[in-house]
Amino acid sequence: MIKITQWIVVCLVLCVSVGIAFSQGLSPPSNVTAVDTPNDDGSSVTIKWDAAPEDSGISGYQILRRIAGGGLEEIGEMLPAGTTTYVDATIEKGNVYAYIVRAVTETEATVDSNETAPTTGTDEWFHTGRIPLFVAMLLFGAAIVWNIYDARSGKEIFVRRIPGLEAVDEAIGRATEMGRSILYVLGLGGVSGPATIASMTILGQVARRTADYETPLRVPCRDPIVMSVVREMVKASYLDEGRPDAYNEENIFYLTSGQFAYAAGVDGMMIREKPAAVFLQGTFYAESLILAETGNSIGAIQIAGTDSEHQLPFLITACDYTLIGEELYAASTYLSREPMLLGSLKGQDWGKVLIFASLVLGVLLELSGVNWITTLLQRVG
């Protein structure tokens, strides 16, 4: 008797749902396709369907997925009514999937689309959407290479005065006169970070001078790989200056990778060793003010430089000289005067001229209702 009652209830619910669906003219989502998402690593499938008319009564869509040979499963949250695309990023490479898009009304009535053809995620070697960016990079690279050749051929390339760098000699001289060490902090960036690379180049130049003056140069590192590179660079600088005997590998050491533990360690060194000059060059985060403030409190001459724009205000406040953003990259060129770096700097200036021209031309064109520069930038970006 109970079973019969249950069956009747189920049948009634079904009849009411179907009735409501038909009474609202609910039609299944049409033209449902599931294809491998282009330009990805094969970890997603894109499902598309046609937009339902505004008066269709659909309040949302639910995506159902079937792994070959298995049952249907709901994936993701309910999508809003206007949605026509869903990217399933939870697939596993090698599996074959089929999808159904279920339209749902406010009264919970549902109607399913046809099941899509089976599809699988495949990874692409080339991201075709990035071709404009690739072309832009080629042009930018060509400008740099051109200027490097120019610089190598002996053409004089001017580099404007960067005030913070003129203080480098003053800082090293002060440390030498006071018989104290120089502390060089490379920040928290990894070895491939542009700011870390620029900082290491500056360190190479600083090491040349400390080799000449026999001033101890202490470099606590946050990254063991950065430490290896820095040891190589500083050693090369000491060798170039003919002072391999003055090089002490123990002065370049790994401290820790933890951000604030590193800051605490460097602060302790500053307080105990009281270096006469502190260089804070590289990528910094929230620890920048802790380091700069401690350096300031011990009376060290501080030269900072970073491209972390949120930390620049703190370094400007607490340090004697600060290299702002790209000045850090230009600094290594200014100090070394190497043709390769000079050419690269000139090439970058060409890039800035191009940005400048795009800005002025873009503004004028937009004001006249022509938007091809914006479209071009959108494609490249």
């Binding site: 533990a261 307080i271 724009e309 002025v360």
Partner: protein
Amino acid sequence: MEVFGIWVAAFLTLCIYSFLYRDNPFYRFAEYLFVGVSVGYVFVLTTHQGFIPLAWKPFWAAITGESLIGLIKLIPICIGLLFFTRFSTQHQWLVRYPIAILIGAGSGLAIPNVLRANIFEQTRGTIEPFAAIHAGTLSAGEIFGAILMVIGVVCTLTYFFFSIEHRGPIKWVSKVGIAFLMIGFGSAFGNTVMGRVALLIQRVDFLLNDWGGTIF
């Protein structure tokens, strides 16, 4: 046990804050502990989130014949092992290869994204409001903001020209650029200081309520 944890945290917090007075054995203790614990933590994290899932497991699966694709991991594993050549005076020159690969691959991955996000998207964002000005959908304040933005970008960009001497009009334009930069830094400074004060309040709240709660 929870009370013990609160006491340890409070003690270490006070040890670190004692640095505000001067360097002392308590600060030194907390500093060494912090550095040591963080090194150990990073080692464990790197082993469990890097070495085991990315190198060891696929490689072991290849050895046992479960999935031969793991053999490809031999390439990065061998490159990584070259770092250990540092310990041999005869072969330490080999360490330059993994370093070169790391810097090359890192720069290759970073530069396109930097160009895209920091140059092309920013340039487009600066120009785009002028389309709205043409369409007549911006208010007077928004038009002023868009014009000010272009002036700021042009002047600041001029400051960062390194291969020309900053003389005459260029000198003045770059000075305006520096003024824009300083205004930006000032607002960022205030914003971040507020965030730091919030962190201090959180710590003081911990000392007063959590730790104080165990005493009183």
